[in-house]
Symmetry: C2
Subunit: 434 residues, 2 copies
């Protein structure tokens, strides 16, 4: 006799909307750290973020209905920080430090709401923009990405039977566990989940985080997802992102100010945070230029997160720079988080083992690797390279050059200007898959 | 907010016993076909069945508590045929034939109860016997085996965390689906589930049956499990087993009667059933002897189920015999069910394709293949070779010779006598793993 819980079934089948974003903590920790800095120092700056789908072959607007996307974005705008979430932000220690967030900042968060969005469909793609105060638009990056990625996954699964779904998730679980077992062979691995924005879905990310926690024990140091960190008593992981140097650069009044913009924002950062939060992104306008012109105090920072150079070459370049500045790389930290998967984690770990501290932020390939898992073929669930980037600050165009020209964003004339100011040394074009 | 259904949780955690056997239809279909014949023709025969664990290295009584086994056996004895089950047996067609079971037989089943058992623990193994009227003891074979196999699996899983269980089942599902995808490449495959007795558990067997049904469509013709056949609107598959010739042989008064015993029982069978149920097991006392001495009418039967010879050699031997008797093998059926898995199914299918009709009964390797799936290692869940065989009939010892000496059962002196009567031609010793 099969027992059906009619109440549960009615509830499950009666959903008007299954919200992707149910908490404003369902975002990356670095957004909150950056937000506090932005709120304190740049509350007057207007920044526009925009969605960029680098995987042009996937015509998102033909996969996801615009109305469905609007419903999710509208729902996210109704979400507020819950009282217990703000209490946790106030009372929890982050990176070993209590009271990371100031009381007046938390008081301001209390009424925070995601701002309005502009959405239209152009040639099979969504043109999605967030214009307004930087203090608000910055917070759209992660929910916008995770909403679109999850809606795409849901679309790919919509017509599957219960059984195909069962096989799909069974395979994906088995696949992830194979990866975990391989990573177990790396005794001093330091790994964290960076997969919120590209995840298959919230529940799947939660499963993946639990799996990695179970499998790697203390080698898994936490998650960038603040909600999962809170709910799972994990460390919240993250520091800062390209939007800081990008906005700083966009606001520069002339080429000379542009050249020093990346360091101005790091200077603000080091006067706001300390210790393990002193991690610099070197590649916004090219790592070679960044290191060449960096003030000596940058070498005092805990480490770097090379985010677009090949991991080994990029790491070696930074280690050489530390040595040239009289610093011992063995006391320094390199965080690798650019499309990593088990192969590249193993290679990078083994290459640097004992020569520099390393840490890995595992993103898309942790939380959205269904390749080979779908009985109906891969197309709908293969991850795409979707980002939400600063387009302009106070009306001035923003640019990212990156170490990989495939990751560059901005208007061509401005890109040319930035290349003139920062140079084009050691920049390469690598395919971007995730 | 995690919603916990307190009623469900209380119910789930409050189980006194989680019964393995909850229906008398949770058995193999051939038991019911044989039972009807036994009930009609041999109601006065007393038969003792006994458990044989061929995998001696697994000390079952050190894995399963005797009290736990008793509780399950006792529970199985409380189960009766439900009214709807008898109605279904009466109203359903089997092998295309309506009214397979006679009304007076079904009326007799109404009060059927599994008879008493004798259980003791000897040197780390269970000595489990069922003595009494053949009409009752025969029905213990499948529940006894599925209870012990499931209790063993439960013991192996008892100390696993929720997460390890999740990975375990995810891997097993992914593994089965790989097999299904390989079998899909065989366009004219005819396959059925024969895995009740050796299953990991009832719910897992049900999942496996659903998987194969989903993946193979019409090439999956049904299941030997009568309950799953009823619940899933599948064909119930099966004909007869070694116990028929074994009891017939044990009851033979002298060597001459022994030599013809295997055909006497087939003669009874063909006067009870017809068509696709006319499938003979040739190997109880050796296929070579069986074919050498078989009356010509055996060549009129639909086919054979070679159950201990290597599939290709055994099939070829039977085909040669059909040809020698002027029958065209292409009109005949060979059913392979001895420890088959995808490799041997593929090889056997390809070998015979177009030359004889084939059908595969997939057992242990369908419903209990967790090899490589357990994060904690394989030992506890690797299938064992557990059988429940006729030991004696009316107090006379029973023997099975088989084509594989490793599968022979009986007392040494009787085995020697049977070898004298039937000969020892073409008999081999192959390791028995499942």
């Amino acid at each position: 006799m099969v027992y059906t819980d009619i109440a549960t079934r009615t509830y499950n089948h009666g959903w008007r909307l299954d919200p992707v974003v149910r908490s404003l903590l369902d975002t990356d920790f670095y957004k909150l750290l950056m937000l506090q800095l932005i709120w304190r120092r740049h509350a007057d700056v207007q920044v526009t973020f925009g969605l960029i789908n680098r995987t042009r072959t996937v015509r998102l607007a033909e996969v996801i209905e615009e109305a469905e996307l609007r419903a999710q974005l509208d729902h996210a705008r109704t979400v507020r920080f819950a009282k217990k979430e703000l209490i946790w932000l106030a009372g929890n220690s982050f990176y070993g430090e209590a009271r990371m967030f100031e009381p007046d900042f938390l008081a301001w968060l209390k009424d925070f709401q995601l701002p309005e969005y502009e959405l239209r469909t152009v040639d099979g793609q969504f043109e999605l923009r967030f214009a307004g105060p930087w203090t608000h638009t910055t917070m759209w990056e992660i929910p916008a990405l995770s909403i679109i990625n999850e809606l795409r996954a849901r679309a790919a699964m919509r017509d599957k039977g219960r059984f195909a779904l069962d096989v799909l998730y069974a395979r994906a679980k088995a696949k992830l566990w194979e990866k975990v077992e391989r990573l177990r062979a790396l005794p001093d691995l330091i790994l964290s989940d960076f997969g919120t924005r590209r995840r298959h879905g919230f529940l799947w990310q939660r499963w993946c985080v639990e799996a990695v926690k179970e499998g790697l024990g203390g080698r898994f140091i936490g998650t960038s997802n603040v909600l999962l960190a809170m709910d799972g008593d994990l460390e919240a992981i993250g520091t800062n992102a390209h939007e800081l140097p990008m906005v700083s650069a966009a606001l520069a009044e002339n080429d000379a100010a542009l050249a020093t913009a990346p360091y101005r924002v790091l200077d603000e950062w080091r006067h706001t945070y300390a210790g393990n939060l002193l991690i610099a992104l070197p590649d916004a306008f090219g790592t070679t230029a960044f290191l060449r012109d960096a003030p000596d105090w940058v070498a005092d920072w805990t480490g770097f997160r090379p985010d677009s150079a090949p991991p080994i070459a990029g790491g070696e370049q930074i280690m050489a720079w530390w040595r040239a500045h009289g610093r011992d790389p063995r006391t320094k930290l390199l965080i690798f988080s650019d499309g990593m998967d088990v192969d590249s984690i193993e290679q990078t770990y083994r290459h640097f083992d004992g020569r520099v501290r390393t840490s890995f932020g595992w993103g898309t390939n942790l939380t959205n690797d269904f390749r080979g898992c779908d009985p109906d073929g891969d197309a709908g669930l293969a991850p795409i390279s979707l980002v939400c980037k600063v387009i302009s600050a106070n009306g001035r165009p923003a640019v990212k050059l990156s170490d990989n020209l495939e990751k560059a964003t901005g208007e061509p004339a401005e890109i040319a200007r930035y290349l003139r100011v920062f140079g084009n040394a050691d920049r390469d074009a690598q395919p971007v898959t995730v």
